[in-house]
């Protein structure tokens, strides 16, 4: 009888899309293990978010509130989740491979001296144990991970599983817990929003990316406009980042972010191997490039051979009209 404990993230009580995905996945895997899935939410409004897990087939949840989890901090979240893990003794601990999930699970794994597979694109139960499949080299290859430990941990890449709203309207039974108040040696002093807020690339369902041929920071507004119309985020090639057109937060590829959107539109990106590695799992790839020989076309579902300065604004204009945005 193995239970699953999973870390569900939320914004002021509203579950993150990828946490809904993780909730459905955890509920399904727990059934296979003959146990139950228990969701954990932390921070202000954790209780609201915890209840909402019910819609995804999760019947039990823990809401952790208190001073030390008011803001995200790897140490304090890790400590609270480790305490819960020690108390609930789950067989499997899951999180999303988000900025927070990636920072927290390694801490729990070390504390529990248990195996962890990060950024998995598939996880399943084989012979009563978790088995994971994950990309390495930013997606240039894949590998299977088997665990030698009784407790198995994994982080799952967003958009890898369908969101399963199996029990619309149900609420999870929520128990409250006060976060441990240790004297953490790292403290958040300030939270700054530095640029127009967009969904993080690793979570985005639509990404519009620009390459060096975008030509300048100002010109990136062309890329940004198309992304906005599609409700997506802005990506960039390493060449565009190195040229100073846009910050490294937006870089897609082996030394940037590995992304997994439903739609990826590459504008003026030739398709260097390290860029392709970072976006090749996108469900649909569109390439817009002047050079018909650009390697990106060999990976694209749809390609337009043309000047991005003409094609992208025209596309934006048409989509804007059509989608009414």
């Amino acid at each position: 009888m193995g239970d699953i404990l999973f870390f569900a993230e939320h914004d002021a009580g509203t579950l993150k899309g990828y946490s809904e995905e993780l909730a459905g996945l955890s509920a399904r895997l727990a059934k296979e293990l003959g146990g139950k899935a228990v969701g954990v939410t932390l921070g202000p409004s954790a209780g609201v978010a915890a209840e909402a897990l019910g819609a995804f087939g999760v019947t039990e949840a823990v809401a952790v509130e208190g001073e030390s989890v008011k803001e995200f901090l790897g140490e304090s979240f890790g400590c609270a989740l480790t305490e819960l893990a020690q108390e609930k003794k789950p067989q499997v601990i899951l999180a999303t491979s988000s900025g927070s999930g990636k920072d927290v699970l390694p801490r729990i794994a070390m504390e529990l001296k248990s195996g962890l597979a990060t950024d998995c694109v598939d996880v399943k139960i084989v012979g009563g144990k978790l088995k994971a499949r994950r990309p390495i080299f930013a997606g240039k290859a894949l590998v299977d991970v088997d665990f030698t430990t009784d407790v198995q941990l994994a982080t799952v890449r967003p958009n890898s599983f369908p969101v399963q709203k199996t029990s619309e309207g149900s609420k999870a039974a929520v128990s409250k817990k006060v976060a441990p108040s240790k004297d953490f040696r790292a403290k958040v002093k300030e939270v700054k929003t530095t640029e127009q807020k967009m969904v993080d690339l690793t979570e985005a369902e639509v990404i519009v990316s620009g390459g060096r041929s975008v030509g300048s920071a100002e010109n990136f507004s062309i890329i940004r406009n198309l992304a906005t119309v599609l409700g997506g985020s802005v990506g960039a090639s390493r060449a565009a980042v190195d040229a100073g057109y846009i910050s490294h937060d937006h870089q897609v590829g082996q030394t940037g972010k590995t992304v997994n959107p439903k739609l990826y539109i590459a504008c003026g990106i030739s398709g260097a191997i390290q860029h392709l590695a970072g976006m090749r799992t996108s469900k649909v790839i569109v390439a817009i490039n002047k050079d018909p020989e650009a390697p990106i076309f060999s990976k694209a579902d749809y390609g337009i051979v043309g000047d991005l300065f003409q094609v992208v604004p025209k596309l934006t204009e048409k989509l804007k009209k059509m989608l009414g945005r």
Binding site: E71, F72, L73, G74, K102, D103, P106, A109, M110, K113, G115, L116, A117, T118, P135, I136, F137, A138, K140, A141, L142, V143, V145, D146, A186, K187, V188, K189, E190, V191, T193, Q196, K197, V199, D200, T202, V206, L230, D249, T255, K262, L263, I273, Q274, K283, I285, V286, F297, S298, A300, D301, Y302, G303, I304, G306, V311, K314, L315, K318, L323
Partner: protein, 259 residues
Amino acid sequence: MKIGVLLKQTPDTETRVKIKPDGSGIEEGEIKWVINPYDEYAVEEALRLKEAAGSSEVVVISAGPKRSIDSIRQAMAMGADRAIHINTDGSFLDSYLTAVVLAKAVEKENFDIFFAGKQAVDDDNVQVSHGVARLLNCPCIWPVEHIELSGGGKSVTVTRPVSGGIKEIIEMTLPGIICCDKGEHDPRYASLPGIMKAKSKPVQEIPVATLVGGETAKVKWSGFTLPPERKAGKILKADDLEQVCDELIRLLREEAKAI
């Protein structure tokens, strides 16, 4: 200050990955090995901290096979003072074991601060630095793009990119581990005198077996494969801009159902 850099040698990011015929691993034959790109930022930040703090020492600690010495020398050519090389030849170390041996190798040295890359670009595990921090009982901040000394040298204040353009400013009491993302400082090039000097800088080599202490790996890897090749799709030529955009939108809606 005593500054440590946790460094890994990885294949260059331009590498085309090839899998061994039996799927047991990666073909290493033609790989060009370099300092993990994020670890280069770590070396740079360590050297800058040394310059700012004065009378400091930068020590590179690396667990890896014999070939890793080239990247260790490279970091010393950039300016690191000495190195500890945990020779892992013939052993498989998962993230857990790597953290165990790194922590063991440095436990008596009393470092004030460690820099590491936010992840290695080969196995992308994002686990080792967190593990070392736990074993040394010190805090770890991941990832970090800007760092400065604060609290009269007793702490550092760092900028942590969260997501979607949000940044956290965090103060961490030393000792602790900083996991570097690409920040505003490009890694320096090694100068010719730097390269000459690096040849005689001390490297302590420790066989991994003497550090493992009965610990075992927590995961096993198998079934290495290349991802399925994407097939090239439809190419539309932009002779008539209106038409080609309409066609793309139609395909995205009706065929791909992506918008």
